[in-house]
């Protein structure tokens, strides 16, 4: 693996290897594996959580981190993507972490320069480290993944998190069921349902996504409240079933997940955040040191 553009850049055994490292990094201790290494973050789209998670990961490994807030700089000054890439590469970073609002940009960059590119989310295309940390969190709770069922709930059509998870989780034997209103369902061969109630008795994991109802001034749904009336994950829905609840964050309370479920021990949102740092440490280590 030179770049990490999507989870398909990793073999199953490479992923198992990453997870072995990540398990050790959960100790939250300071390491010096990337001492004297330079990591650039190149965020064309605002992000607080993913960027901080990568930054914490890099710093725990002893690397220097430089942020380039491109949203407000080069593109507005007329620089092309190619120019930006080459200008960054010449500074000699050991890896560049990229987030872009449009699908495919990390791949374009990877084709332009030799520096390893880590995709921190591009459009509705991919968010590989999120999918890896989700899988890592699932593996903490299930010894055997084969045959487990996960319902991914929300705006799946526009979700890079859903896209990367669908690809990754199926490789590990999970059955993915997409649960959403028709508005948010992509064309797919996967099993789909409009109703959470219809699938709740058979799933082991529910992954709720952050859902937006407005896009480019065209309403997709009546409102978040209207969406929540059928798709909010509630304690009434879960009952006392033994189901793991995941969410990539930030959780829109009482729209994606209700207050009661947020406080429920089955909700693993904070575990995901913690695991996210460890998994990204493992990914950085592999990318920079090979």
């Amino acid at each position: 693996m030179r770049h990490l553009l999507d989870t398909t850049d990793l073999t199953v055994s490479e992923i198992e290897g990453l997870f072995e490292d990540a398990r050790e990094f959960l100790d939250t201790k300071q390491h010096r594996l990337l001492h004297n290494k330079l990591i650039l973050t190149l965020f064309f789209e605002n992000s607080t959580r993913t960027r901080s998670s990568f930054e914490v990961a890099a710093k725990r490994l002893g690397a220097e981190v430089v942020h380039l807030d491109v949203a407000q700089s080069s593109t507005k000054k007329g620089e092309t993507l190619n120019d930006t890439a080459k200008n960054l590469a010449i500074m000699g970073p050991d890896a560049i972490i990229v987030r872009h609002q449009h699908s495919g940009t990390p791949e374009l960059l990877a084709n332009m320069i030799d520096t390893p590119i880590l995709n921190a989310g591009d459009g509705a295309h991919a968010h590989p480290t999120q999918a890896l940390l989700d899988l890592f969190t699932i593996k903490q709770h299930f010894r055997r993944l084969e045959g487990r069922k996960i319902a991914i709930v929300g705006d799946i059509k526009n979700s890079r998190v859903a896209n990367s998870n669908i690809k990754l989780l199926r490789r590990f034997g999970l059955e993915v069921i997409l649960v959403a209103p028709p508005h948010f369902l992509p064309h797919t061969r996967l099993r789909t349902s409009y109703s959470l109630q219809e699938v709740i008795d058979e799933v082991d994991i529910v992954m709720s996504l952050r859902t937006q109802t407005e896009r480019h001034d065209h309403p997709i749904y009546g409102s978040l409240k209207d969406y929540a009336s059928d798709y909010c994950i509630t304690k009434e829905l879960f009952g006392d079933r033994d189901i793991l609840l995941l969410h990539p964050g930030p959780v829109h309370r009482n729209v994606d997940i209700d207050d009661a479920m947020m406080d429920d021990p089955r909700c693993k949102v904070l575990d995901q955040v913690k695991n996210g740092v460890a998994v990204r440490m493992a990914v950085l280590k592999k990318t920079v040191l090979g």
Binding site: P182, Y221, S223
Partner: protein, 383 residues
């Protein structure tokens, strides 16, 4: 209670039968049911026994929800048991408060009100999931709403498995038109509404219904072209559009000002029309007593609906009674997945209809003023 010798109209045919009702449910159907001791017996010889009429797209007096009791009264008298009211009320049924207000108001009435909910809210798309979860029976759209909004509406219809009810009309093409664009409009010097306003919109919406696989009902089509182009969808037409053409507007007769407008008589299209409506939208006299251009649209017709339909379609020999009852009861119920049947175990939601009674219409708001109409609705006594 036993009803004897009634001519029962079911979905397929009519036949003479006895019928026992117990606790509001049809207990037994068949010839010569023997009354129990003390059981009430009703002789229905020569009377039709049919489901209560279901009317779609009804509006209230001047659109106001205050008109609910009046509509209920007229419906009851006219043998209409279920009113599927339009969402285009004042305020429109596109929010929870309006829907709840209507449901509360109508809960005291003798007839059933089921509301359509409008896809267009104050800020774009309404909260259709909530409105349908709260009892909306279908989504009403105008065909010239924003295309994105219509597409999302189809997705909602799919999600909740409800029909879409569409008013096919292009407002921008209609412009200031107020009457069918034809010779009468020219003669009266009134701006016309082209048939294209409807037919071109029908094509678009019918295609979308096919694309999404959603049940769609065109409400009150007024053009032959529109009916021909509506393939795969349900078609409703008002009884008035079958019987009148635009000449009803002669002499600037504002009683005949309805929307969509009276054009050419659609009687010979009856076979392609699934559902008949009364298109009831009573307009107070004060809103009709204007120059044609300034008068409100609307007609008072709920009370006479069944009698008009019987007189002009069945008594005149155009169709048989089962075909009429299909268009007034069974077909509309099937579009909205509402139970409607006369069989053992079904609720006794029926009326008797005496086809021999005759009366002259005395209602200046009616298109049928002065006509002799046949038929009389008889409600079943409590058993």
């Amino acid at each position: 209670m036993i009803i004897q010798n009634a001519t029962l109209i079911d979905q397929y045919s009519d036949y003479v039968t006895d019928l026992r009702i117990q606790n509001g449910v049809i207990d037994k159907l068949g010839k010569s049911i023997v009354p129990l001791e003390g059981e009430k017996v009703l002789d229905a010889t020569g009377l039709y026994l049919m489901p209560k009429v279901m009317d779609i797209g009804v509006n209230f007096s001047d659109g106001s929800l205050k008109g609910v009791p009046r509509v209920a009264q007229k419906a009851y008298k006219g043998g209409v048991g279920t009113v599927i009211n339009s969402s285009k009320t004042t305020p429109p049924i596109n929010n929870e408060a309006a829907l709840e207000s209507l449901q509360l108001k109508s809960s005291f009435e003798k007839i059933e009100f089921c509301s359509l909910v409008n896809a267009k809210g104050e800020q774009g798309l309404s909260n259709l999931a909530i409105l349908l979860n709260k009892g909306g029976v279908g989504i009403e759209i105008d065909s010239d709403y924003d295309m994105n909004l219509i597409a999302r509406t189809f997705e909602y219809a799919k999600l909740k498995n409800v029909p879409i009810v569409c008013n096919a009309n292009s407002g921008s093409l209609q412009g200031n038109g107020i009457i069918h664009e034809g010779k009468v409009a020219a003669k009266l010097g009134l701006p016309g509404i082209s048939t294209l306003c409807e037919s071109a919109e029908v094509v678009k919406i019918a295609h979308m219904a096919d694309f999404y696989g959603v049940k769609l009902l065109f409400l009150n089509l007024s053009t032959k072209e529109g009916i021909d182009l509506s393939q795969g969808c349900f078609v409703s037409t008002s009884i008035h559009h079958l019987l009148f053409d635009d000449s009803a507007c002669e002499n600037y007769n504002t009683t005949a000002k309805i929307h969509p407008p009276l054009r050419e008589k659609l009687l010979d299209k009856l076979e392609q029309i699934d559902i008949l409506t009364s298109m009831h939208a009573k307009t107070s006299v004060s809103n009709k007593d204007f120059a044609f251009a300034e008068a409100s649209y609307g007609v008072d017709s709920l009370e006479e609906f069944l009698r008009v339909s019987y007189t002009h379609l069945v008594k005149s020999g155009v169709i048989g009674m089962p075909a009429l009852v299909d268009k007034l009861c069974y077909k509309p119920a099937s579009v909205f997945n509402i139970e409607c049947s006369i069989e053992e175990g079904a609720p006794a939601e029926m009326i008797l209809f005496d086809p021999t009674a005759a009366a002259v219409v005395n209602n200046p708001n009616s298109l049928y003023e002065g006509q002799t109409l046949y038929g009389r609705v008889i409600h079943l006594p409590a058993d």
